[in-house]
Each structure stands twice: as C-alpha cells, then as structure tokens.
C-alpha cells in the first residue's frame, strides 16, 4: 500500500514537472514565433485644405492609405482598409461611394456600409484642421 502511494506520488510530481516544463517551453517558443507589437499614436501633416482640389485625397502612411474627404469646410478621414478582409477600397467619384474590389462591399461618403459583406463601416481617423493645415492621427506600430 505504502509502495503504491509512493509510486502514485512520484508519478504525480513527474507529470506536473513535465507539464510545467512543456508550458514554459511552449511560452518561449510562442514568444519566438509571435513578435510583440508596440505602438503609439502620432499626428501627421496631411496637406492644406485650400490645396484640396478634388473631393477625396489619398495620403500614404507606411502600408496604409488614408482617404481624406472634403465636405464643404468639414474634413473627414477614413482608413482605406476594408473592414471585411483588408483589401483597399477605392473612391468612385461618379457614384460618390467607396468600393472594395475584393468582395464587392460598398460604403457611402460617411464610410457607412451600403451593401456587400463588410461587417462594419470604414474606420474613421481622428482629423483636425487648424490654420488650413490638415492633421490626422495615425497609429505608428512596430514589432520588437
């Protein structure tokens, strides 16, 4: 009986150590495979309002294209990344809407979904206009 108990206890200890060793190994392997993303918000200069000749202006920031849309004196900025599966939407001036070429989602000039499979509106980017200067706030992300 005593021997059985000792055997049982030694097995429990062995398996627990093995399990924690596996978890630790997995944690470090995961740390190697998945890089941490750090980020902060930065304000970037996106041009002058008076220079905007067309309704929509594109500016490129790293892999992202920001779509600045002028509505009278008001300015709004949207991310061009389709919230469906990440393709770049395009402004169609004649229809006054954004269209995604991948799966056909349509958005109006306020970024709202008109039709297609997109689950949410286009992402709105905080924008300020001060002294004719358009400033947009973007996330600056980098991997460690």
């Amino acid at each position: 009986m005593r021997q059985k108990r000792r055997f049982f206890l030694s097995r429990i200890i062995l398996y627990s150590v093995g399990f924690f060793a596996f978890l630790t190994g997995f944690k470090y392997l995961w740390r190697y495979m998945v890089r941490r993303v750090k980020g902060e918000s930065v304000q970037i200069f996106a041009g002058r309002l008076s220079d905007m000749k067309e309704e929509v202006k594109e500016i490129r920031f790293r892999d992202e294209i920001l779509l600045i849309i002028k509505k009278g004196e008001k300015v709004e900025t949207f991310s061009s990344t389709c919230p469906h599966l990440g393709c770049k939407v395009e402004w169609i001036p004649s229809e006054k809407r954004f269209k995604c070429p991948c799966h056909g989602a349509l958005f109006d000039e306020d970024g709202r979904v008109l039709s297609g499979p997109a689950p949410s509106p286009l992402k709105k980017i905080p924008t300020n206009v001060k002294d004719d200067e358009i400033m947009v706030e973007v996330g600056f992300y980098y991997e460690d």
């Binding site: 890089r35 056909g104 297609g116 499979p117 689950p119």
Partner: protein
C-alpha cells in the same frame, strides 16, 4: 539480411484498371512531380520580400526551360488538387468510405486540406499582386476567427503586416512543413488502403508486375506530356509586382478557393469564416456521422445527409464555373 519481395507477386482487382477507381494513384505521382520540380525551382528562387518576384520573373522569362519547370510545378499543383477532388467525389458517390474504411477517408480529407494549404502558400511566394492580396485576404480570414484570430494572423504574418517575415514563414510551410505532413499522410493513407482494401473488390485479378506497373508508367508519361503541353500552350505568367497600396480590380484567388471566395461575398464575415471550419469538421468526420445517423434515424436520415453532401458538391462545381466565367 533477407528482404521480403513477396509483394511483387501480388495480384490486384481488375477494377483498378478503371480510371475513376485508380484516381488515387494519380495525385501520388503528381506529389513526386511537385517535389522534383519544387527542388529545381529552389535553385533559382529567392525567398525574400524584395527579390522573390524578380527571381520568379527570371525563372519564367530568362532561364532556359525555366518556363517548363515552373509550368510543370504550377499546373502540376492544379492537377494535384483537381485529381484529389475527383477522387474524393468518386469515393463519396460510391460510398467507399463505409466501415472499415472510415480512417482512409479521414486521412484522404486531411490530404485534400494539406494540398490546398500547399497551393495557398505556393502562390503566396511569388509576391505579385495576386499573391500579395491573396496572402492579405488569407491572413485576414485567419485574423477574423474568434478568440485566437489576431494571434493566428500575427503568427502567419510574423507581425502586423505582410513583410519579409511573412515570406519566410510561408516559404518554410511550403517547402518543409506541408510536404513533410503530406508525405506522412500519404504513407498512412496507402497503409490504410492496403490494410482495409478498396471498396469494389473484383473476382478477376491481374498482376502488379508487369501489367499494373506498365499501366502506372503509361499514366506517368501521359500526365507529363499533358502538363508539358498545357505549359507550352499557356505558359505560366506573372502579374504585376506586389503593391500594398493598390488592390487590383477583379482580384480572385486560384480556382480551388472559388467556393470559399463566393461564399465570403454572399454572407456576413463571421458566417463566412466559421461555417467553412464547421463544414471541414463535418467533412472529415463524415463516415462516422453517417454511421451514427443510420443507427439513429435509419435510411431516411442517411438519404438526407447524402443529399446535403451532393448539393454541396454541386455548389462547389457551380461556384468554380461561375467565378471562372465572371
């Protein structure tokens, strides 16, 4: 040491002479062709975000017979998936998955998934517009999974965006991990076929050597000629170099992802991502589900289940034809 060569005297059922019953052997030959041409492509391919496109361009247009090797690899991959798909339809229609061959079906299903994975990672390595945006959409699909999605997407991409790390990871998957798993599951699949036999046994037999060997060699020569001919008539092309700022209009994945592509266009994102995963489990475990259904509801349940299966196959074929035309 004595090597047992008894299997050389083996006799096979005559049904194996029928093309539809011998479809399983075709992907096996194509797998070896993919490995062989893949190794040849590796001589010139550079797995780098900056140079991958240029190296594929060089293989396709500059290096003597490069178009042929790339054509064999490209069309070989298409045919590999096509023949597995045909083989799968034949097995479903003839109910060849019935007991005791359930696990033969499961391993075959895993082989189909792995071949789709090999196709996806393969065309992602070219780094042209189609390849870049297919990778983007593919990783976003993974990213939209509940709970683990974001981590999975970062794991595949090696970060938040498509970069050198993405190419390196897809390259590792394409040339090492997936082929290794394919080889492993092919071995298990063949073992199970030999262990539990084929569904349509025949009284009439014919010898493995030389008759079946001649048949296999003639299939090998036919396929090689056929793929070479296709490569010569439609040489493998290369689109524009990847541009992360511009999604081309009318972008589409390879034909074998058309059913998923069409489904994603028609339904909300969560349904479009979760339903195929659910379907995948049903597909892999189908023989067991059918057996359970037969026990619980009798023939009527099985009939319903098989009708649903046939309708899904029809959807697959219609989606592929529809997206090929429009």
């Amino acid at each position: 040491m004595k090597i047992d060569l008894e299997f050389l005297n083996e006799e096979l059922p005559e049904t194996l002479k029928d093309f539809f019953y011998a479809l399983g052997g075709t992907p096996l030959f194509l797998f070896f062709l993919q490995v062989f041409t893949g190794v040849l492509l590796l001589i010139y391919y550079i797995p780098s975000y900056e140079s991958a496109y240029e190296s594929v361009y060089r293989i396709t247009y500059t290096i003597p017979m490069g178009w042929w090797i790339r054509g064999l690899h490209r069309y070989g991959a298409t045919l590999f998936i096509f023949t597995i798909f045909l083989h799968n339809i034949r097995v479903f229609v003839t109910r060849a998955y019935s007991s005791p061959r359930e696990f033969t079906w499961v391993t075959g299903g895993i082989l189909l998934m792995l071949s789709l994975g090999a196709g996806f990672t393969g065309y992602s390595l070219i780094n042209d517009q189609l390849s870049y945006w297919a990778t983007k959409v593919g990783t976003e699909i993974a990213g939209s999974l509940p709970l683990v999605g974001h981590w999975l997407s970062v794991l595949i991409k090696g970060g938040e965006r498509i970069s050198q790390f993405t190419i390196s990871r897809l390259f590792t998957l394409h040339i090492f991990i997936i082929p290794l798993l394919l080889a492993l599951f092919i071995a298990v699949h063949i073992f199970l076929v030999r262990r539990y036999g084929v569904s349509l046994e025949s009284e009439r037999k014919y010898p493995l050597i030389p008759e079946h060997l001649y048949l296999e060699i003639s299939i090998f020569i036919f396929l090689l000629t056929f793929i070479t001919l296709i490569s010569a008539i439609f040489p493998p092309e290369l689109g524009e170099k990847a541009n992360p700022w511009k999604t081309p209009s009318h972008i589409k994945p390879e034909w074998y992802f058309y059913p998923l592509y069409l489904f994603l266009k028609l339904v909300p994102l969560k349904v479009g991502v979760l339903f195929p995963i659910f379907f995948l489990f049903i597909f892999l475990l189908y023989p067991f589900i059918e057996e359970g259904c037969e026990r619980l509801t009798g023939r009527r349940g099985v009939l319903l289940l098989r009708t649903a299966g046939v309708l899904l196959y029809i959807y697959f074929v219609v989606a592929i034809i529809r997206e090929s035309i429009y």
